[in-house]
């Protein structure tokens, strides 16, 4: 029974990880120009196209970097560095891959560079995410949800960088396992394994009994 339960869990996890995440902007994307098209328009000098592209991805990238860097100021520096590199790379940009994959690959590399440059920040945490109450919840339910979110955030901070990276790339960027592997420079199995472990640990943290 235990074996079949484990196998089932893995199967479900894989099926979930294979599908793209339900992104907040997915609906808007239906009739909006592709990211790559916007980037190509910016390549031709259309700054408004870049602004559209930026507004589409800025918050998700910012949250990704906040949770990766664990320092607001550092995250902001890296955020600027990432967009600076994208701006610089516009002349050589070719839409061979999804823009999101390209952007998060740049972000991942900037983060790795930052960690290498500033090892003193590696083990300290300054960023504390704000916890927002959902409207319409009863006080008891709200308290329970808030506790679950706190536990999730704690567990997220405690995750190894690679697992946290995989989870955030999946949740914030909506990247598939293949894309995560591409962004992080690892193979597919490794990326899938990291994501599975991350989700498992976070789920355990959220479901932790009071």
């Amino acid at each position: 029974m235990a074996v079949s339960r484990l196998a089932m869990t893995e199967k479900l996890a894989e099926s979930r990880l294979s599908r793209p995440a339900n992104l907040a902007y997915a609906g808007l994307m239906a009739h909006a120009p592709e990211d790559s098209a916007l980037m190509l328009r910016y390549q031709d000098g259309d700054v408004a196209a870049f602004e559209t592209l930026y507004r589409r991805h800025n918050d998700a990238l910012y949250r990704y970097l906040l949770r990766m860097c664990k320092h607001r100021a550092t995250a902001e520096d890296v955020f600027q560095e990432v967009w600076g590199k994208i701006i610089k790379a516009r002349d050589t940009y070719r839409p061979t891959a999804k823009f999101t994959t390209f952007m998060y690959r740049v972000a991942h590399n900037c983060f790795i560079d930052h960690v290498r440059r500033n090892k003193r920040h590696a083990n300290s945490t300054e960023f504390e995410p704000g916890l927002h109450a959902a409207p319409g919840d009863s006080p008891d339910m709200e308290t329970e949800r808030q506790l679950a979110r706190e536990r999730l955030n704690e567990a997220l901070k405690e995750l190894p960088d690679e697992q946290r990276d995989a989870f955030l790339l999946h949740e914030e960027a909506g990247l598939s396992v293949d894309d995560i592997a591409h962004v992080t420079g690892s193979n597919r199995e490794t990326a899938k394994s990291r994501l599975r472990y991350a989700v498992k640990k976070l789920r355990a943290a959220v479901e932790e009994p009071q």
Binding site: M8, L12, N58, R63, L66, R67, L131
Partner: protein
Amino acid sequence: MNNEQNESDTLVSNAYRESAQETTPRALDDAVLRMAAKGNSATKLPRLLNWTKPLTWALTAGLAVAIFYVPQVGDIAPGTAPLSLPESQSVATPPSAALEEAFSADHADVIQEAEKMARIREGDEQPPALEKARREQESRVEDEFADQAVASRARGTTPAVRSDALAYDLAQEKKESADDTTCSETSREQAQSWYDCVVALRDQDRTLDAEREMLELVEKFPDFQPNK
């Protein structure tokens, strides 16, 4: 069970989304968008100047070809007939050539002098003053040496003093005239016959040869007294 697992993942995802509500600070947005606008304007000028790159390459290639081929055009193989135009299309003598001819006729002596100076400068010819000084030096050395030889002969010894210039000149002279016939081995066997040879050389104005022979004669026959 499927629902339970799925619910768990959705639970994680929902919990994460509820907590992850941060948005980019406005200042950061402005900074990035400013950077984008600035970056865009910064690249407009280089794009306009993109044509200079191929032009530079073309000019470089042209220059390289010119450097490689131009010397070869000047190298006409011996025996090759020079290129000439038909009589009707012959090129008129340029004004500079006509001027040159007129100048040559009027100033032949100046040109000759200039050419001579050029030859001197190239080392083909000695300047007249230098030539004269050299001759005077040689004459003086010969006289000095002759006096010394006579004096030493009178004393019955070899000359005690020989200037470096003299020694050098003698050595040079000896080297140059190694194959010249001066006094034969037969005449050198006897002091008198050798002396007669020296006198004969003097009569032929071969002073240096004569003095060299005389020196050797005195060395070999220190007690020799010539018959007057």
